[in-house]
């Protein structure tokens, strides 16, 4: 039996400790936001937050989570009452097929928990590990900028002026 804290709720699951956290979230806890994409930590569709940090849940054995708190997109809001990052993504219509979006939202949430005033470079570096095959990147970046503003900050372009 393994104890994990997911979206503020303690859960106990009967699985092999080597089971990827992603499988536990989807198969045992019925949380389907995080997606299986590549299983190699290369696409980011499985991204969730582990103590405020975005991680690939496909590469973390559930036994390695320990006391760290897991947050999935389900923990950030509901369809009826979306959280601020979710509202920003909706407002910018930042999804096409939508498969990567839960990972993108988790990644954006992780960035904004670290700072609500990231630079453009920091934002792009933070979002880069998640891939989008539809080419919605510009809208996704707009959504992150909007979410930063909704939290009282904003993404700043720190590039120095060319004289």
């Amino acid at each position: 039996m393994i104890d994990v804290s997911v979206n503020g709720t303690a859960a106990r699951v009967d699985v092999d400790p080597a089971t990827p956290l992603l499988y536990v979230l989807r198969d045992d806890l019925g949380l389907h936001a995080a997606k299986f994409g590549c299983g190699l930590g290369q696409c980011g569709a499985c991204t969730v937050l582990l103590d405020d940090r975005p991680v690939f849940s496909c590469l973390i054995p559930v036994g390695a989570v320990g006391t760290r708190k897991v947050t999935t997109v389900e923990g950030l809001g509901t369809a009826a009452k979306p959280g601020d990052v979710q509202r920003a993504f909706l407002h910018e219509q930042a999804a096409q097929c939508g498969y990567c979006i839960p990972g993108m939202i988790a990644r954006a949430e992780g960035l904004l928990r670290k700072t609500v005033t990231p630079t453009e470079d920091e934002m792009r570096a933070a979002m880069a590990p998640s891939l989008c095959r539809c080419g919605t990147h510009m809208r996704i970046l707009r959504a992150v900028r909007r979410a930063a503003m909704m939290r009282g900050g904003g993404v700043v372009d720190a590039a120095e002026p060319v004289t």
Binding site: L40, E160, V162
Partner: protein, 429 residues
């Protein structure tokens, strides 16, 4: 001793001290070179600018001279030393914050003698100890290249040196002790490519800046230990001489491929600070890169792997027994890419036991690669590895590293792994 005698001695001591200070002051003094109007970029010969661009890539200048906001050559990269942090300066032609007001003579003096236009001594974090041997022609090309970059207004952060090292005249003392410019004469016994490689490697490419051990005052060890491995930004730059820990020979072809693609399938991918080096080499003149490969393959000609490529041990059962936690984590987090037959192996990535970091005499590079992953060094096609810094804690990373060494390593046993992981996290920030 009489009272008068003591007074006399004190007087002499004061006079001697003043004389020393005066002599030192004279030795340390360098005049400012007059500010010039920023040269019109259109007046530089385009062929000269192109030559300079190649030299700047070979020299990896942009790594330390990229600004916080991402502007190339606008300065701001922190070089952390035991004595404080030195920030790369703005070398774009902005007259106010860059080198727009520098004449060719001022540029030449900075490169050759480590002295800024204003006469201030430069910290040896700027590797003028190497640039001192750059030819006049190449200095002219580099000057032309830099003066034709977009001028960026950017003041890098102020250096934070521990007192009294913020007082630059003291650097004259460092130069007296360690700065011995001696021109590199061609070696007629060696090929043209070898000589070209040596010239680039020992001057602009300043490879020993990372790959050489350093002394107490951060001076590079010379002579036999010149390429015996050093430290850079929290990473270990392994020996690239007879002590190369690689288990496969670094031939000219393999090095050449590694430099141009950031990957050697017989060794590993370029990681940490070596990534940007290969990014720039991939965009430099191929014949120059080949020359570098020729020279450094020669440097490693006496390494163990150059004589005999050993079979690669796989002590899987033993390693699992000794480090069961590491084995479980490896199976869940790493095996999906690294085990024989895994997707990445089929894609032609080097097998884990080939990885040079696993054979080094300290665990740092293995630890850093797990923490930070690999950014595709040369192009978006990879190689790439996700970072595990946020996914695994220090104990878990240490367990994986212990398992890996027990399974594949050929070097001395690594101790205190958890401590090294904590240190790697801190130093690599």
């Amino acid at each position: 001793m009489s009272r008068a005698g003591i007074t006399r001695n004190v007087r002499w001591a004061v006079i001697a001290l003043c004389l020393c200070a005066l002599v030192f002051g004279i030795l340390a003094y360098r005049p400012a070179i007059a500010v010039v109007t920023r040269p019109d970029p259109r007046l530089f010969d385009t062929a000269l600018v192109a030559r300079g661009a190649n030299l700047a890539r070979l020299g990896n200048c942009v790594s330390c001279h990229r600004s916080a906001g991402g502007r190339p050559y606008a300065g701001g990269y922190p070089v952390k030393t035991p004595f404080g942090t030195v920030y790369g300066s703005n070398i774009t032609p902005d007259p106010a914050t860059g080198i727009g007001g520098w004449s060719p003579a001022a540029f030449r003096r900075a490169m050759r003698e480590g002295v800024g236009r204003d006469g201030g001594h430069l910290y040896p974090a700027f590797p003028y100890t190497h640039y001192t041997n750059v030819t006049e022609r190449d200095l002219g090309a580099l000057y032309a290249f830099l003066m034709t970059r977009p001028a960026v207004r950017a003041d890098p952060p102020a250096n934070t040196m521990i007192p009294p090292l913020g007082f630059r005249p003291l650097l004259a003392g460092w130069k007296l002790l360690f700065f011995r410019p001696h021109p590199i004469a061609a070696d007629p016994a060696q090929s043209a490519a070898w000589n070209r490689g040596r010239y680039i490697g020992e001057t602009l490419a300043h490879c020993t800046a990372c790959h050489s051990p350093r002394g107490l005052l951060q001076q590079e060890k010379r002579g036999a230990r010149s390429y015996d491995g050093g430290w850079s930004g929290g990473w270990y730059a392994p020996p690239i001489d007879t002590h190369s820990p690689a288990v496969r020979a670094w031939t000219v072809d393999r090095l050449d491929t590694y430099f141009r693609t950031g990957l050697s399938t017989a060794h590993a991918a370029a990681a940490g600070p070596m990534g940007p080096v290969t990014y720039n080499l991939a965009r430099a003149e191929p014949s120059d890169v080949r020359a570098l490969a020729t020279y450094y393959a020669w440097q490693m000609r006496g390494a163990p792997a150059a004589r005999f490529e050993p079979p690669l041990p796989d002590r899987r059962a033993l390693a699992s027994q000794r480090h069961p936690d590491g084995a479980r984590l490896y199976d869940a987090a790493c095996a999906v890419c690294h085990e024989p037959g895994a997707a990445m192996m089929v894609a032609g990535r080097p097998a884990l036991p080939l990885g040079t970091p696993l054979h080094e005499d300290n665990p740092r590079d293995t630890v850093q690669i797990i923490l930070k992953g690999l950014r595709a060094p040369v192009s978006a096609r990879g190689p790439y590895m996700p970072a595990f810094a946020d996914a695994l804690d220090d104990r878990q990373v240490a367990a994986i590293v212990a398992y890996l060494q027990a399974r594949h390593g050929t070097g001395p046993a690594w101790l205190d792994l958890e401590k090294d992981v904590a240190k790697a996290r801190k130093e690599g920030e």
